[in-house]
Protein backbone atom coordinates (compact mmCIF):
# COMPACT_ATOMS: atom_id res chain seq x y z
CA UNK A 1 0.00 0.00 0.00
CA UNK A 2 0.98 3.63 -0.24
CA UNK A 3 2.23 5.08 3.03
CA UNK A 4 3.45 8.42 4.30
CA UNK A 5 7.21 8.24 3.98
CA UNK A 6 8.91 10.89 6.04
CA UNK A 7 12.30 12.27 4.99
CA UNK A 8 13.23 14.14 8.16
CA UNK A 9 16.42 15.69 6.74
CA UNK A 10 14.22 17.78 4.44
CA UNK A 11 11.89 19.16 7.12
CA UNK A 12 12.34 22.89 7.83
CA UNK A 13 9.80 23.10 10.64
CA UNK A 14 7.39 25.36 8.73
CA UNK A 15 4.30 23.56 10.15
CA UNK A 16 2.37 23.82 6.90
CA UNK A 17 1.57 20.09 7.21
CA UNK A 18 -0.01 20.71 10.60
CA UNK A 19 -2.15 23.54 9.30
CA UNK A 20 -3.32 21.56 6.29
CA UNK A 21 -3.92 18.44 8.35
CA UNK A 22 -5.97 20.20 11.00
CA UNK A 23 -8.05 21.82 8.28
CA UNK A 24 -8.70 18.46 6.62
CA UNK A 25 -9.47 16.74 9.92
CA UNK A 26 -11.48 19.40 11.73
CA UNK A 27 -12.25 22.17 9.24
CA UNK A 28 -10.16 24.75 11.07
CA UNK A 29 -6.53 25.81 10.89
CA UNK A 30 -5.23 24.84 14.32
CA UNK A 31 -2.04 22.82 14.69
CA UNK A 32 -3.23 21.56 18.08
CA UNK A 33 -5.86 19.56 16.16
CA UNK A 34 -3.44 18.16 13.59
CA UNK A 35 -2.74 14.42 13.53
CA UNK A 36 0.68 14.95 12.04
CA UNK A 37 3.00 16.63 14.53
CA UNK A 38 6.27 18.34 13.81
CA UNK A 39 8.70 17.64 16.62
CA UNK A 40 11.73 19.74 17.39
CA UNK A 41 15.08 18.12 18.02
CA UNK A 42 18.44 19.36 19.15
CA UNK A 43 17.07 22.40 20.92
CA UNK A 44 14.77 23.46 18.04
CA UNK A 45 17.42 23.36 15.36
CA UNK A 46 16.06 20.23 13.67
CA UNK A 47 12.50 19.20 12.99
CA UNK A 48 10.62 16.15 11.81
CA UNK A 49 6.94 15.39 11.27
CA UNK A 50 5.52 12.38 13.07
CA UNK A 51 2.23 10.62 12.37
CA UNK A 52 0.41 7.29 12.43
CA UNK A 53 2.46 4.56 10.72
CA UNK A 54 -0.72 2.59 9.84
CA UNK A 55 0.84 -0.35 11.69
CA UNK A 56 0.13 -3.99 10.88
CA UNK A 57 -1.41 -4.75 14.26
CA UNK A 58 -3.77 -1.79 14.32
CA UNK A 59 -3.68 -1.61 18.13
CA UNK A 60 -6.37 1.08 18.05
CA UNK A 61 -8.59 -1.01 15.80
CA UNK A 62 -8.44 -4.22 17.82
CA UNK A 63 -8.86 -2.34 21.10
CA UNK A 64 -12.12 -0.66 20.12
CA UNK A 65 -15.00 -2.32 22.02
CA UNK A 66 -17.62 -1.26 19.46
CA UNK A 67 -15.70 -2.01 16.23
CA UNK A 68 -15.65 1.68 15.34
CA UNK A 69 -12.21 1.49 13.75
CA UNK A 70 -11.83 -0.16 10.36
CA UNK A 71 -9.50 -0.09 7.36
CA UNK A 72 -10.32 2.29 4.51
CA UNK A 73 -9.96 1.43 0.82
CA UNK A 74 -6.50 3.06 0.81
CA UNK A 75 -5.39 0.97 3.78
CA UNK A 76 -5.66 3.57 6.56
CA UNK A 77 -7.06 2.67 9.96
CA UNK A 78 -10.07 4.99 10.26
CA UNK A 79 -12.47 5.88 13.06
CA UNK A 80 -16.19 5.68 12.30
CA UNK A 81 -17.80 8.63 14.08
CA UNK A 82 -21.22 6.99 14.22
CA UNK A 83 -19.84 4.05 16.17
CA UNK A 84 -17.20 5.75 18.36
CA UNK A 85 -18.53 6.43 21.86
CA UNK A 86 -15.43 8.25 23.09
CA UNK A 87 -14.17 5.69 25.62
CA UNK A 88 -10.48 6.41 24.84
CA UNK A 89 -9.44 2.76 24.88
CA UNK A 90 -7.78 3.29 21.50
CA UNK A 91 -5.71 6.18 22.86
CA UNK A 92 -4.23 3.93 25.51
CA UNK A 93 -3.84 0.92 23.20
CA UNK A 94 -1.94 2.77 20.45
CA UNK A 95 1.75 2.48 21.38
CA UNK A 96 2.73 5.22 18.91
CA UNK A 97 0.78 8.06 20.48
CA UNK A 98 -1.02 8.77 17.22
CA UNK A 99 -4.65 8.44 18.21
CA UNK A 100 -6.15 11.79 19.14
CA UNK A 101 -9.31 12.88 20.85
CA UNK A 102 -11.63 15.66 19.75
CA UNK A 103 -13.15 17.28 22.80
CA UNK A 104 -15.87 19.02 20.90
CA UNK A 105 -17.22 15.86 19.30
CA UNK A 106 -16.03 13.47 22.07
CA UNK A 107 -14.68 11.15 19.38
CA UNK A 108 -11.28 9.68 18.66
CA UNK A 109 -9.60 10.72 15.44
CA UNK A 110 -6.42 9.87 13.61
CA UNK A 111 -4.58 9.99 10.30
CA UNK A 112 -6.84 8.59 7.58
CA UNK A 113 -4.43 9.41 4.73
CA UNK A 114 -7.05 11.97 3.59
CA UNK A 115 -8.71 9.18 1.64
CA UNK A 116 -5.65 8.70 -0.56
CA UNK A 117 -4.70 12.32 -1.21
CA UNK A 118 -2.84 13.41 1.92
CA UNK A 119 -2.93 17.17 2.43
CA UNK A 120 0.35 17.16 4.35
CA UNK A 121 2.13 15.78 1.30
CA UNK A 122 0.51 18.32 -0.98
CA UNK A 123 1.51 21.35 1.07
CA UNK A 124 5.01 20.33 2.16
CA UNK A 125 7.31 22.77 0.32
CA UNK A 126 10.41 20.60 0.68
CA UNK A 127 9.03 17.11 -0.08
CA UNK A 128 9.78 15.97 3.44
CA UNK A 129 6.55 13.95 3.37
CA UNK A 130 6.00 11.58 0.46
CA UNK A 131 3.04 9.34 -0.30
CA UNK A 132 4.34 6.26 -2.05
CA UNK A 133 4.36 2.47 -2.19
CA UNK A 134 6.53 1.31 0.70
CA UNK A 135 6.61 -0.79 3.83
CA UNK A 136 5.86 1.42 6.77
CA UNK A 137 9.03 2.03 8.76
CA UNK A 138 10.66 3.99 11.54
CA UNK A 139 11.46 7.03 9.40
CA UNK A 140 12.60 9.25 12.25
CA UNK A 141 14.51 7.14 14.78
CA UNK A 142 18.02 7.27 13.33
CA UNK A 143 17.68 10.94 12.36
CA UNK A 144 16.40 11.93 15.77
CA UNK A 145 19.09 9.95 17.59
CA UNK A 146 21.85 11.46 15.48
CA UNK A 147 20.57 15.03 15.77
CA UNK A 148 19.98 14.69 19.49
CA UNK A 149 23.39 13.34 20.42
CA UNK A 150 25.22 16.66 20.80
CA UNK A 151 22.19 18.25 22.48
CA UNK A 152 21.94 15.47 25.06
CA UNK A 153 25.67 15.67 25.74
CA UNK A 154 25.50 19.45 26.26
CA UNK A 155 22.45 19.18 28.48
CA UNK A 156 24.07 16.45 30.55
CA UNK A 157 27.29 18.46 30.94
CA UNK A 158 25.34 21.51 32.05
CA UNK A 159 23.55 19.77 34.87
Amino acid sequence: MKVLRIVPERCTGCLRCELACSYMQTGTFQPARSVIRVSPFQGHTSYAPYTCPQCAEGWCMTACPVEAIGISPVGAKVVGDDQCVGCKLCTIACPHGTIFFNHETQKAFKCNLCGGNPACVEVCPTQAILYEEAETADWLGAFAAQRSGPYLATAAAGR
Binding site: Y50, E67, G86, C87, L89, L140, A144, S148
Partner: protein, 439 residues
Protein backbone atom coordinates in the same frame (compact mmCIF):
# COMPACT_ATOMS: atom_id res chain seq x y z
CA UNK B 1 -14.15 -35.58 8.54
CA UNK B 2 -16.55 -34.17 11.11
CA UNK B 3 -16.43 -30.45 11.69
CA UNK B 4 -14.41 -29.21 14.63
CA UNK B 5 -16.74 -28.25 17.49
CA UNK B 6 -15.79 -25.16 19.50
CA UNK B 7 -17.70 -24.10 22.59
CA UNK B 8 -17.28 -20.54 23.90
CA UNK B 9 -18.54 -19.98 27.44
CA UNK B 10 -19.09 -16.27 27.94
CA UNK B 11 -20.24 -13.59 25.50
CA UNK B 12 -18.10 -10.71 26.72
CA UNK B 13 -15.00 -9.22 25.12
CA UNK B 14 -12.90 -12.39 25.41
CA UNK B 15 -15.59 -14.64 23.95
CA UNK B 16 -16.41 -12.23 21.13
CA UNK B 17 -12.76 -11.87 20.12
CA UNK B 18 -12.21 -15.63 20.24
CA UNK B 19 -15.14 -16.14 17.87
CA UNK B 20 -13.78 -13.50 15.49
CA UNK B 21 -10.29 -15.02 15.57
CA UNK B 22 -11.65 -18.50 14.85
CA UNK B 23 -13.70 -17.24 11.93
CA UNK B 24 -10.88 -15.09 10.61
CA UNK B 25 -8.81 -18.26 10.40
CA UNK B 26 -11.26 -20.98 9.35
CA UNK B 27 -13.74 -18.90 7.28
CA UNK B 28 -16.66 -20.79 8.78
CA UNK B 29 -15.36 -24.35 8.53
CA UNK B 30 -16.08 -25.26 12.17
CA UNK B 31 -19.06 -25.36 14.49
CA UNK B 32 -19.12 -22.70 17.19
CA UNK B 33 -21.55 -22.70 20.09
CA UNK B 34 -21.74 -19.63 22.32
CA UNK B 35 -23.11 -19.89 25.84
CA UNK B 36 -23.93 -16.49 27.33
CA UNK B 37 -26.31 -15.74 30.18
CA UNK B 38 -26.85 -12.23 28.77
CA UNK B 39 -27.28 -10.90 25.25
CA UNK B 40 -23.65 -10.06 24.42
CA UNK B 41 -22.75 -6.40 24.81
CA UNK B 42 -19.70 -4.19 25.28
CA UNK B 43 -19.29 -3.40 28.96
CA UNK B 44 -16.90 -0.52 28.20
CA UNK B 45 -19.69 1.52 26.62
CA UNK B 46 -22.28 1.13 29.39
CA UNK B 47 -21.20 4.47 30.94
CA UNK B 48 -22.18 6.20 27.67
CA UNK B 49 -25.54 4.46 27.74
CA UNK B 50 -25.98 5.66 31.32
CA UNK B 51 -25.09 9.21 30.24
CA UNK B 52 -27.61 8.94 27.39
CA UNK B 53 -25.03 9.77 24.74
CA UNK B 54 -25.77 6.45 23.02
CA UNK B 55 -28.92 4.36 22.66
CA UNK B 56 -29.17 1.01 24.37
CA UNK B 57 -29.06 -0.73 20.98
CA UNK B 58 -25.50 0.60 20.53
CA UNK B 59 -24.13 -1.65 23.28
CA UNK B 60 -24.90 -5.02 21.70
CA UNK B 61 -22.02 -6.82 19.99
CA UNK B 62 -23.50 -10.10 18.79
CA UNK B 63 -27.17 -9.66 17.86
CA UNK B 64 -28.89 -12.67 16.26
CA UNK B 65 -28.08 -11.54 12.73
CA UNK B 66 -24.40 -11.29 13.51
CA UNK B 67 -24.36 -14.70 15.19
CA UNK B 68 -25.96 -16.16 12.07
CA UNK B 69 -23.51 -14.36 9.81
CA UNK B 70 -20.61 -15.75 11.84
CA UNK B 71 -22.14 -19.24 11.87
CA UNK B 72 -22.46 -19.32 15.65
CA UNK B 73 -25.16 -21.26 17.50
CA UNK B 74 -26.22 -19.06 20.40
CA UNK B 75 -27.27 -20.47 23.75
CA UNK B 76 -28.27 -17.02 24.98
CA UNK B 77 -29.79 -16.69 28.42
CA UNK B 78 -28.18 -19.96 29.47
CA UNK B 79 -25.41 -20.47 32.01
CA UNK B 80 -22.75 -23.12 32.15
CA UNK B 81 -23.64 -25.32 35.12
CA UNK B 82 -20.86 -27.86 35.07
CA UNK B 83 -17.87 -28.96 33.08
CA UNK B 84 -16.56 -32.50 32.82
CA UNK B 85 -13.25 -31.92 31.10
CA UNK B 86 -12.32 -35.62 31.14
CA UNK B 87 -15.07 -36.45 28.67
CA UNK B 88 -15.27 -32.98 27.04
CA UNK B 89 -18.86 -32.27 27.99
CA UNK B 90 -20.41 -29.04 29.18
CA UNK B 91 -23.77 -29.06 30.95
CA UNK B 92 -25.94 -25.94 30.85
CA UNK B 93 -28.38 -24.78 33.51
CA UNK B 94 -31.34 -26.14 31.52
CA UNK B 95 -29.78 -29.60 31.31
CA UNK B 96 -28.52 -29.23 27.74
CA UNK B 97 -25.24 -31.09 27.23
CA UNK B 98 -22.75 -29.73 24.72
CA UNK B 99 -19.95 -31.96 23.52
CA UNK B 100 -16.88 -30.19 22.25
CA UNK B 101 -13.51 -30.66 20.66
CA UNK B 102 -12.27 -27.58 22.46
CA UNK B 103 -13.78 -25.10 24.87
CA UNK B 104 -13.03 -21.55 25.96
CA UNK B 105 -13.71 -20.44 29.51
CA UNK B 106 -14.52 -16.73 29.29
CA UNK B 107 -17.05 -16.24 32.05
CA UNK B 108 -15.62 -12.95 33.28
CA UNK B 109 -16.36 -11.35 36.62
CA UNK B 110 -19.32 -10.19 38.66
CA UNK B 111 -19.77 -7.18 40.88
CA UNK B 112 -19.58 -7.74 44.62
CA UNK B 113 -21.07 -5.49 47.28
CA UNK B 114 -19.59 -4.43 50.57
CA UNK B 115 -20.83 -6.94 53.18
CA UNK B 116 -22.85 -4.50 55.27
CA UNK B 117 -26.46 -4.62 56.47
CA UNK B 118 -28.79 -3.10 53.87
CA UNK B 119 -26.40 -3.58 50.95
CA UNK B 120 -29.17 -5.31 48.99
CA UNK B 121 -31.84 -2.78 49.91
CA UNK B 122 -34.04 -0.74 47.61
CA UNK B 123 -32.22 1.93 45.65
CA UNK B 124 -28.85 0.23 46.06
CA UNK B 125 -27.29 -0.81 42.76
CA UNK B 126 -24.20 -2.36 41.31
CA UNK B 127 -22.93 -1.04 37.99
CA UNK B 128 -21.47 -3.94 36.06
CA UNK B 129 -24.07 -5.60 33.83
CA UNK B 130 -26.45 -4.00 31.34
CA UNK B 131 -29.38 -4.84 33.62
CA UNK B 132 -27.65 -3.08 36.49
CA UNK B 133 -26.88 -0.11 34.24
CA UNK B 134 -30.58 0.09 33.37
CA UNK B 135 -31.39 0.15 37.08
CA UNK B 136 -29.00 3.01 37.75
CA UNK B 137 -30.18 4.92 34.67
CA UNK B 138 -33.81 4.63 35.77
CA UNK B 139 -32.99 5.82 39.28
CA UNK B 140 -31.09 9.02 38.50
CA UNK B 141 -32.84 12.28 37.61
CA UNK B 142 -31.76 15.93 37.65
CA UNK B 143 -31.01 16.88 41.23
CA UNK B 144 -30.80 13.27 42.47
CA UNK B 145 -28.35 12.69 45.24
CA UNK B 146 -26.09 9.80 44.32
CA UNK B 147 -23.77 8.04 46.74
CA UNK B 148 -20.93 6.09 45.14
CA UNK B 149 -19.49 3.51 47.47
CA UNK B 150 -16.01 2.74 46.22
CA UNK B 151 -13.65 4.93 44.20
CA UNK B 152 -12.05 2.41 41.87
CA UNK B 153 -11.85 2.32 38.08
CA UNK B 154 -15.45 1.18 37.54
CA UNK B 155 -16.79 3.97 39.73
CA UNK B 156 -14.70 6.52 37.86
CA UNK B 157 -15.92 5.40 34.45
CA UNK B 158 -19.43 6.60 35.32
CA UNK B 159 -18.70 9.84 37.18
CA UNK B 160 -19.05 11.98 34.05
CA UNK B 161 -22.37 10.36 33.15
CA UNK B 162 -23.78 10.84 36.64
CA UNK B 163 -22.78 14.51 36.63
CA UNK B 164 -24.12 14.94 33.10
CA UNK B 165 -27.51 13.70 34.30
CA UNK B 166 -27.54 16.59 36.75
CA UNK B 167 -27.07 14.53 39.89
CA UNK B 168 -25.18 15.58 43.00
CA UNK B 169 -22.47 13.08 43.74
CA UNK B 170 -20.77 11.93 46.93
CA UNK B 171 -17.98 9.38 46.69
CA UNK B 172 -17.02 7.35 49.74
CA UNK B 173 -13.95 5.14 49.73
CA UNK B 174 -12.62 2.85 52.43
CA UNK B 175 -8.97 3.32 51.35
CA UNK B 176 -7.11 6.50 52.28
CA UNK B 177 -7.22 7.65 48.61
CA UNK B 178 -9.36 7.39 45.51
CA UNK B 179 -8.33 4.98 42.69
CA UNK B 180 -6.09 3.00 45.05
CA UNK B 181 -5.35 0.28 42.48
CA UNK B 182 -4.73 2.65 39.59
CA UNK B 183 -2.71 5.65 40.76
CA UNK B 184 -0.45 6.65 43.63
CA UNK B 185 -1.19 9.03 46.50
CA UNK B 186 0.27 12.08 44.71
CA UNK B 187 -1.95 11.53 41.69
CA UNK B 188 -4.94 10.78 43.89
CA UNK B 189 -4.59 14.08 45.76
CA UNK B 190 -4.61 15.99 42.47
CA UNK B 191 -7.69 14.13 41.23
CA UNK B 192 -9.51 14.60 44.53
CA UNK B 193 -8.87 18.34 44.46
CA UNK B 194 -9.98 18.49 40.81
CA UNK B 195 -13.23 16.66 41.54
CA UNK B 196 -14.01 18.82 44.56
CA UNK B 197 -13.55 21.87 42.34
CA UNK B 198 -16.16 20.30 40.04
CA UNK B 199 -18.65 19.94 42.87
CA UNK B 200 -18.09 16.29 43.81
CA UNK B 201 -17.96 15.46 47.51
CA UNK B 202 -15.29 12.91 48.44
CA UNK B 203 -14.74 11.05 51.68
CA UNK B 204 -11.74 8.74 51.81
CA UNK B 205 -10.84 6.45 54.69
CA UNK B 206 -14.57 6.02 55.26
CA UNK B 207 -15.75 2.57 56.35
CA UNK B 208 -19.39 1.93 55.51
CA UNK B 209 -21.21 0.27 58.41
CA UNK B 210 -24.80 -0.03 57.13
CA UNK B 211 -27.30 1.26 54.63
CA UNK B 212 -30.67 2.13 56.09
CA UNK B 213 -33.87 2.86 54.23
CA UNK B 214 -35.26 6.28 55.09
CA UNK B 215 -38.45 7.37 53.37
CA UNK B 216 -37.58 6.11 49.90
CA UNK B 217 -33.97 7.16 50.34
CA UNK B 218 -30.87 5.52 51.64
CA UNK B 219 -28.99 6.65 54.70
CA UNK B 220 -25.37 5.46 54.64
CA UNK B 221 -23.86 5.05 58.09
CA UNK B 222 -20.17 4.87 58.73
CA UNK B 223 -18.00 3.58 61.56
CA UNK B 224 -16.90 7.18 61.95
CA UNK B 225 -18.28 10.52 60.81
CA UNK B 226 -21.56 11.90 59.51
CA UNK B 227 -24.20 9.93 57.61
CA UNK B 228 -24.68 10.37 53.86
CA UNK B 229 -28.18 10.52 52.43
CA UNK B 230 -28.87 9.46 48.87
CA UNK B 231 -31.66 8.83 46.37
CA UNK B 232 -29.48 6.30 44.59
CA UNK B 233 -26.56 4.33 46.01
CA UNK B 234 -24.07 2.64 43.71
CA UNK B 235 -21.91 -0.12 45.12
CA UNK B 236 -18.69 -0.07 43.14
CA UNK B 237 -16.92 -2.20 45.69
CA UNK B 238 -15.06 -4.61 43.45
CA UNK B 239 -15.51 -7.65 41.28
CA UNK B 240 -14.89 -11.37 41.64
CA UNK B 241 -14.06 -13.89 38.93
CA UNK B 242 -16.83 -16.28 37.86
CA UNK B 243 -15.13 -19.60 38.54
CA UNK B 244 -17.55 -21.48 40.81
CA UNK B 245 -18.99 -23.55 37.97
CA UNK B 246 -15.56 -25.10 37.40
CA UNK B 247 -15.51 -26.89 40.76
CA UNK B 248 -14.82 -30.57 40.11
CA UNK B 249 -14.16 -29.96 36.41
CA UNK B 250 -10.51 -30.97 36.53
CA UNK B 251 -9.44 -27.51 35.31
CA UNK B 252 -6.68 -26.05 37.46
CA UNK B 253 -7.63 -22.78 39.12
CA UNK B 254 -5.46 -20.46 41.17
CA UNK B 255 -6.63 -16.79 41.29
CA UNK B 256 -8.02 -17.56 37.85
CA UNK B 257 -7.80 -20.47 35.44
CA UNK B 258 -4.07 -21.09 35.11
CA UNK B 259 -3.12 -20.82 31.43
CA UNK B 260 0.09 -21.20 29.42
CA UNK B 261 1.34 -18.84 26.72
CA UNK B 262 -1.22 -20.33 24.30
CA UNK B 263 -4.03 -19.52 26.76
CA UNK B 264 -4.45 -23.26 27.32
CA UNK B 265 -5.33 -24.62 30.75
CA UNK B 266 -3.94 -27.81 32.30
CA UNK B 267 -6.49 -29.63 30.11
CA UNK B 268 -5.16 -29.56 26.55
CA UNK B 269 -8.51 -28.79 24.86
CA UNK B 270 -9.72 -26.25 27.41
CA UNK B 271 -8.66 -22.61 27.07
CA UNK B 272 -9.39 -19.58 29.22
CA UNK B 273 -9.35 -15.87 28.44
CA UNK B 274 -10.08 -12.51 30.01
CA UNK B 275 -10.95 -11.82 33.63
CA UNK B 276 -11.09 -15.53 34.53
CA UNK B 277 -7.65 -16.35 33.15
CA UNK B 278 -4.43 -16.16 35.10
CA UNK B 279 -1.95 -15.50 32.35
CA UNK B 280 1.40 -13.82 32.05
CA UNK B 281 2.11 -10.20 32.89
CA UNK B 282 4.14 -8.72 30.01
CA UNK B 283 6.29 -6.55 32.26
CA UNK B 284 6.94 -8.74 35.28
CA UNK B 285 6.70 -12.10 33.53
CA UNK B 286 4.71 -13.35 36.49
CA UNK B 287 1.31 -15.00 36.59
CA UNK B 288 -1.44 -12.41 36.94
CA UNK B 289 -5.16 -11.86 36.54
CA UNK B 290 -5.66 -8.62 34.60
CA UNK B 291 -9.38 -7.94 34.70
CA UNK B 292 -9.23 -5.25 32.03
CA UNK B 293 -10.74 -4.87 28.58
CA UNK B 294 -7.48 -4.91 26.55
CA UNK B 295 -6.37 -8.17 28.18
CA UNK B 296 -9.75 -9.80 27.52
CA UNK B 297 -9.47 -8.74 23.88
CA UNK B 298 -5.94 -10.04 23.38
CA UNK B 299 -6.54 -13.24 25.37
CA UNK B 300 -9.66 -13.92 23.34
CA UNK B 301 -7.90 -13.44 20.02
CA UNK B 302 -4.92 -15.61 20.96
CA UNK B 303 -7.13 -18.38 22.37
CA UNK B 304 -9.37 -18.27 19.30
CA UNK B 305 -6.43 -18.41 16.90
CA UNK B 306 -5.05 -21.45 18.73
CA UNK B 307 -8.43 -23.17 18.91
CA UNK B 308 -8.67 -22.75 15.14
CA UNK B 309 -5.44 -24.70 14.75
CA UNK B 310 -2.96 -21.84 14.99
CA UNK B 311 0.22 -21.80 17.03
CA UNK B 312 0.25 -18.34 18.59
CA UNK B 313 2.34 -17.68 21.68
CA UNK B 314 1.19 -14.69 23.69
CA UNK B 315 3.84 -12.33 25.03
CA UNK B 316 1.76 -11.40 28.03
CA UNK B 317 -0.69 -8.70 28.91
CA UNK B 318 0.15 -5.13 29.81
CA UNK B 319 -1.77 -3.75 32.74
CA UNK B 320 -3.27 -0.41 31.70
CA UNK B 321 -6.16 1.82 32.58
CA UNK B 322 -7.38 5.18 31.40
CA UNK B 323 -10.29 7.20 32.64
CA UNK B 324 -11.33 10.80 32.13
CA UNK B 325 -13.23 12.73 34.76
CA UNK B 326 -14.36 16.31 34.18
CA UNK B 327 -11.82 16.66 31.34
CA UNK B 328 -8.91 15.34 33.36
CA UNK B 329 -7.18 12.28 31.88
CA UNK B 330 -5.83 9.71 34.31
CA UNK B 331 -3.83 6.72 33.08
CA UNK B 332 -1.39 4.15 34.39
CA UNK B 333 0.58 1.37 32.75
CA UNK B 334 2.55 -1.73 33.63
CA UNK B 335 4.33 -1.90 36.97
CA UNK B 336 3.20 1.59 38.01
CA UNK B 337 3.29 0.70 41.72
CA UNK B 338 6.54 -1.27 41.78
CA UNK B 339 8.23 -0.25 45.05
CA UNK B 340 11.57 -1.66 43.85
CA UNK B 341 11.76 0.47 40.69
CA UNK B 342 13.72 3.67 40.20
CA UNK B 343 11.23 6.54 39.96
CA UNK B 344 11.26 9.88 38.13
CA UNK B 345 8.30 12.11 38.71
CA UNK B 346 7.19 15.65 38.11
CA UNK B 347 4.09 17.51 39.26
CA UNK B 348 2.59 20.74 37.98
CA UNK B 349 -0.20 21.22 40.50
CA UNK B 350 -1.62 24.33 38.82
CA UNK B 351 -2.56 22.50 35.58
CA UNK B 352 -2.86 19.94 37.22
CA UNK B 353 -0.42 17.61 35.51
CA UNK B 354 1.65 14.72 36.74
CA UNK B 355 4.03 12.26 35.14
CA UNK B 356 5.67 9.33 36.84
CA UNK B 357 8.11 6.96 35.16
CA UNK B 358 9.29 3.74 36.77
CA UNK B 359 12.54 2.21 35.59
CA UNK B 360 14.50 -1.03 35.61
CA UNK B 361 17.90 -0.05 34.27
CA UNK B 362 17.25 2.13 31.22
CA UNK B 363 13.85 0.61 30.43
CA UNK B 364 10.52 2.12 31.47
CA UNK B 365 8.53 -0.65 33.19
CA UNK B 366 5.64 1.40 34.47
CA UNK B 367 4.16 4.86 34.09
CA UNK B 368 1.46 7.13 35.37
CA UNK B 369 0.02 10.16 33.66
CA UNK B 370 -2.44 12.80 34.68
CA UNK B 371 -3.36 15.98 32.88
CA UNK B 372 -6.11 18.08 31.33
CA UNK B 373 -7.44 16.15 28.37
CA UNK B 374 -7.37 19.22 26.13
CA UNK B 375 -3.60 19.48 26.55
CA UNK B 376 -2.16 18.18 23.31
CA UNK B 377 0.63 16.34 25.04
CA UNK B 378 -1.66 14.41 27.35
CA UNK B 379 -3.10 12.23 24.58
CA UNK B 380 0.23 11.93 22.77
CA UNK B 381 2.01 10.90 25.92
CA UNK B 382 -0.63 8.32 26.85
CA UNK B 383 0.19 6.33 23.73
CA UNK B 384 3.91 6.90 23.85
CA UNK B 385 4.18 5.85 27.49
CA UNK B 386 2.32 2.68 26.58
CA UNK B 387 4.75 2.21 23.70
CA UNK B 388 7.78 2.65 25.93
CA UNK B 389 6.52 0.05 28.42
CA UNK B 390 5.26 -2.34 25.73
CA UNK B 391 8.42 -2.18 23.62
CA UNK B 392 10.81 -2.37 26.56
CA UNK B 393 13.14 -0.19 24.49
CA UNK B 394 16.43 0.70 26.17
CA UNK B 395 16.53 4.46 26.37
CA UNK B 396 20.24 4.90 27.10
CA UNK B 397 21.11 8.62 27.33
CA UNK B 398 17.43 9.58 27.18
CA UNK B 399 16.95 8.22 30.67
CA UNK B 400 18.90 11.16 32.04
CA UNK B 401 16.90 13.54 29.86
CA UNK B 402 13.65 12.15 31.28
CA UNK B 403 15.05 12.50 34.77
CA UNK B 404 15.49 16.22 34.11
CA UNK B 405 12.06 16.50 32.51
CA UNK B 406 9.66 13.56 32.91
CA UNK B 407 7.14 15.49 30.79
CA UNK B 408 9.29 15.45 27.65
CA UNK B 409 8.39 11.95 26.46
CA UNK B 410 8.24 12.51 22.72
CA UNK B 411 11.89 13.06 21.72
CA UNK B 412 12.93 10.16 23.93
CA UNK B 413 10.32 7.93 22.32
CA UNK B 414 11.29 8.89 18.77
CA UNK B 415 15.07 9.05 19.13
CA UNK B 416 15.17 6.09 21.51
CA UNK B 417 14.04 3.73 18.75
CA UNK B 418 10.68 2.66 20.17
CA UNK B 419 9.00 2.79 16.75
CA UNK B 420 11.40 0.32 15.16
CA UNK B 421 10.76 -2.13 17.97
CA UNK B 422 6.99 -1.70 17.88
CA UNK B 423 6.25 -1.85 14.14
CA UNK B 424 7.01 -5.58 13.70
CA UNK B 425 4.87 -6.49 16.75
CA UNK B 426 1.49 -8.11 16.19
CA UNK B 427 -0.61 -10.14 18.60
CA UNK B 428 -1.38 -13.00 16.21
CA UNK B 429 1.77 -12.91 14.08
CA UNK B 430 -0.09 -11.37 11.15
CA UNK B 431 -1.77 -8.07 10.30
CA UNK B 432 -5.07 -7.56 12.09
CA UNK B 433 -8.30 -7.82 10.17
CA UNK B 434 -11.13 -5.42 11.03
CA UNK B 435 -14.08 -7.17 12.66
CA UNK B 436 -16.37 -6.00 9.88
CA UNK B 437 -14.46 -8.09 7.35
CA UNK B 438 -14.81 -11.37 9.28
CA UNK B 439 -15.55 -14.04 8.18
Amino acid sequence: MAKQRHVIVGGGTAGLNAILAIREQDKGASEIALVSDERPYARMVLPYYLGRSIAESHVFTLPPGRLAQLGVTGHIGRRAAGLDAKVSKLTLDDGTVLEYDDLLIATGSSAVRAPVPGADGAGVHSFWTLDQARGVAAGIATGSRVAMVGAGFIAFTILNSILKLGARLTIVEIAPQILPRMIDATGARLVEAWLRRHGVEIRTGATLAAIEQAGGRQRLRFTDGADVEADVTIMATGIKTNLEWLTGSGVRVNRGVVVDDHLRSNISNVYAAGDVAEGRDLVTGEAAVHAIEPTAMEHGRVAGANMAGGDVAYRGSLLMNIVEVCHLDIASFGAWDDATAEVFEAVRPERPAYRKLLWKGDRVTGAMLLGPSEDVWTTNDVGMLKGLVQSGVRLGPWKEHLQRNPFDIKPAFIAGGATARLLPQTVLGRPSVPAGRIP
